[in-house]
Symmetry: C2
Subunit: 338 residues, 2 copies
């Protein structure tokens, strides 16, 4: 495996010159450059990223911190990230997270040693010590689909999205609208719902008080949605519409309702969240989240922070859209329903 010295010798120049050619420095004459390039070609030389990271200062590596509840969301996100990174040489190292302790460990390791130049943090708010450490180290991190004013963040506004969904149901004539939310911090069962505020806000604006027993928290799975739906359909005055915090939950809700003999959207309207790949084919009415675009913008933001370390972090909100399909309709007149 040829090294930079081999190339230098073959081209009859010093290693400094080869390094300059490698790094596209303008301080090389065209003639010399050609000779060096030829030698590189001839020897099939490829610089060692590791030696590079070691000698230089930057690792050309970005850490990607991903909690595994992301599900199919993840591949879409990756597509966007790859687009944002396409013109660069950065490698992504993957740190998957399955539970609270693991999250702790991953964040502890993240900017501890110069393993990477920056981080993309998916769907998690980092712990305080991490924020301090990285701020002190000038280590840039970008949050995806979650917001922290101390850091770069690219996200949709989950409350606004919930408002959209609730308002849509209100427009259809619904008054009994329930929420199947998800934990703001998926690994902290003491945390609140992520779009509770938006839900309540929209109901409040419509002059409807917050219903007593219409708020549920569930895992981001069909199973979780199913359980929440089960419980919602049992309350004395069950909802005529349910707004979910994910498409997976929505699928569970639709399925459970139908199994129990409720027609969807006849007896129960359901709104999903994300517009996942399968939502279209299930005819799921949902709130579209520009997942790929979040990935792309986050990558771009990180590259920007890497290039100009000084800048203050910004929060970039991307808009969400209602996608109307077949799981929502006007509520049945009370006396006509089951």
């Amino acid at each position: 495996m040829p090294t930079i010295s081999d190339v230098a010798r073959a081209a009859g120049v010093g290693i400094g010159t080869v390094s300059r050619v490698l790094n596209a420095s303008p301080l090389v004459s065209e003639a010399t450059r050609q000779r060096v390039v030829a030698a590189i070609e001839r020897l099939g030389y490829r610089p060692s990223p590791i030696a590079r990271a070691f000698g230089g200062r930057r690792t050309q590596t970005i850490e990607l911190l991903v909690p595994l509840f992301v599900g199919s969301f993840f591949v879409e996100l990756l597509r966007g990230i790859e687009v944002g990174l396409a013109t660069t040489q950065y490698s992504l190292v993957l740190r998957t997270i399955e539970g609270a302790e693991e999250r702790q460990r991953v964040f502890d390791d993240c900017c501890a040693r110069g393993n990477s130049d920056g981080a993309l943090v998916v769907w998690m708010v980092p712990p305080q010590p991490f924020v301090e450490r990285m701020t002190a180290a000038g280590f840039p991190a970008v949050l995806l689909n979650v917001v922290d004013p101390r850091l770069w963040s690219v996200a949709v506004n989950h409350d606004t999205a919930a408002e959209q969904a609730v308002r849509y149901c209100l427009r259809l004539g619904h008054r009994r609208i329930a929420l199947v939310d998800r934990l703001e911090d998926a690994y902290d069962t003491a945390s609140r719902g992520i779009c509770l505020r938006g839900y309540r806000q929209a109901l409040g604006e419509a002059g409807l008080g917050v219903p007593a027993d219409y708020e549920r928290l569930s895992e981001l799975t069909a199973r979780g949605g199913a359980a929440a739906c089960d419980s919602l359909l049992r309350v004395p005055e069950p909802p005529t519409a349910i707004v979910a915090a994910s498409d997976a939950q929505a699928v569970g809700i639709v399925q459970t309702a139908r199994t129990r003999g409720w027609r969807v959207p006849g007896d129960l309207s359901v709104v999903g969240y994300n517009d996942s790949a399968f939502a279209e084919f299930l005819g799921l009415t949902t709130v579209q989240v520009p997942i790929r675009e979040i990935g792309r913008r986050a990558a771009t933001a990180l590259l920007g922070a890497l290039a100009e370390p000084g800048n203050e972090p910004e929060t970039i909100y991307l808009p969400t859209d209602m996608v109307v399909r077949q799981t929502c309709g006007p509520p049945q007149p009370l006396n006509a329903g089951g």
Copy 2:
């Protein structure tokens, strides 16, 4: 950021001793070890993986080559891989692949320079030059869900799986069974179907010739399945059952059939493939693939190959299972159908 020398100085020992402690060498007295550990603790020292990779020989890094058509498959796979790697220090660097040229590029880069100690290759057969290069370099790679006798492979047998699905339909009484297959090489439209052989085999064993116009190829998406279904329902003698090469395709098939007024499973039975997360909630009858286990076993195999470089590559087949849900039933008597 403290270095090994700082620790050595603080502990009043040489750097060699610190290195030995770091690498759990037995050649350190307990007393010395304690002092060194204390110093490490006190200084908050953490060895630099990069320097380590540079000075030593191994990078503690595994490349994960993933084509992005994997979809939700990917997260399941990751879970397994992480389990297999849990007790180690290996990092995963992610190389996503979106098309044929990108695949070429990624494979060209993969074992070219000592960036990584090994590779996990998801759902792709590597090009010949890569195989030669890595074999020559003693660079281990493990294929996931695809088989190449020259390399370590952990997979299910797709033909056997198709046989299972077809046999199940045969047992239900179906005789007109179609296949919506996927390309063996997703980026080569000239390649064959991945489970065509198994499909034909099962039909042949049942004494049924291969139907003339019952074989389709489609993308691994609901849309692809929908298009294939559309065309299958138009043939003079349409099938009474369709075996798909993915759950996504199956969803598209079910949806399309129902839209056209065919009852599923009344008029048309559908079998999916993989048993993805959503299959259960859609009531999809499908062939279960132990995705997570494939990930785990592949990681284990790679660790093994890393530990004992000499061994011959093996192919590990994991079994598939029929999961019976609600999209298959006996065929309608010919005169009763629509």
